[in-house]
Every structure is written in C-alpha cells, then in structure tokens.
Symmetry: C2
Subunit: 84 residues, 2 copies
C-alpha cells in the first residue's frame, strides 16, 4: 500500500476569501503577529501497489480531477504504508 | 517572518463524504488502485517574529479557531521565510 499526500494551494495571484476571513478572525482574537493566511487542501490517497509509473498516475489524477490548474498549484509526497 | 503550515485532517473514526465521493470518482475514471481518499485542510500562516513561545501560540490558534478537535486532528511545521 502506498500513501500519497497531495497539497493543493491557491495560486499566489488568486484572492483567498477564506484565508482573509481567517486572518481577520485571528487578529481580532489578539494574534496580531498573523500577517497572512492561505487555506488549501490536503488530499490523502491510499493506493494499492501497481506496476506502472506512479508519478505519472498521480499527476494525471491531479490534472483530471483533484486540482483546478487554472487557479491552483499542487505538490505531492509519496510514502509507503508499512504492514498493509 | 515565520511560515507555519498547519495540516488539519478528519479523525480516523469520522466519515469523510468528500473523500468517499473523490475515491468513487477516481475509480470510475479508471484509477482502480485508489483504495481510500481523505480530504483535509492545509492552512498556511505567515507570522511576524515575536519573542513569545511560538509553539504555544500556534497550538492556541489551532484549538481556538483553526481546528475542531472533536472531529479533527492537526499537526504543523514551522519554517523561516528568508528575505522578508
């Protein structure tokens, strides 16, 4: 079993209303050190082992479904899940 | 400037409808190797440097606003942003 974490973030140039609201809330609560908040997604995939090109498969899933590349960037990490 | 990435995930015991829908969609698209998908949040904070206890401040923000500890787990990574 392979575990893949995909991190999806809004592109720098895209306004993030959820992040701005979170930043404002934190500042109102007294966390004046908070200068910026951006909220993205963490997608955890568990894959059975397959013989093909894992990187190519993951990139394909991201481009076709998980990520909207017009407004989002992504990166991913591959890790093995032991004992499964 | 300090950059903090907070990773928020649903607890193992909590059903994740968004993750199930994503898994079903991927399988329908032919990615039969996908056994499980869980969707969480990635919250990127930029903080000005302060003298206090950074870990304590971050945990406080998570507990008070960013994370619902009844249904969510979290972990975080601290990194410096150079040149700011």
């Amino acid at each position: 079993m392979t575990k893949v974490n995909v991190y999806v973030t809004l592109r720098e140039s895209v306004v993030d209303p959820q992040g701005i609201a979170t930043k404002d809330a934190l500042q109102t609560m007294g966390y004046s050190e908070v200068k910026s908040v951006r909220v993205g997604k963490l997608i955890e995939l568990e894959l059975t082992d397959l013989s093909g090109d894992l990187d190519a498969r993951i990139k394909e899933m991201c481009k076709k479904l998980l990520v909207n590349e017009v407004i989002e960037d992504y990166r991913y990490e591959i890790g093995e899940v032991a004992g499964k």
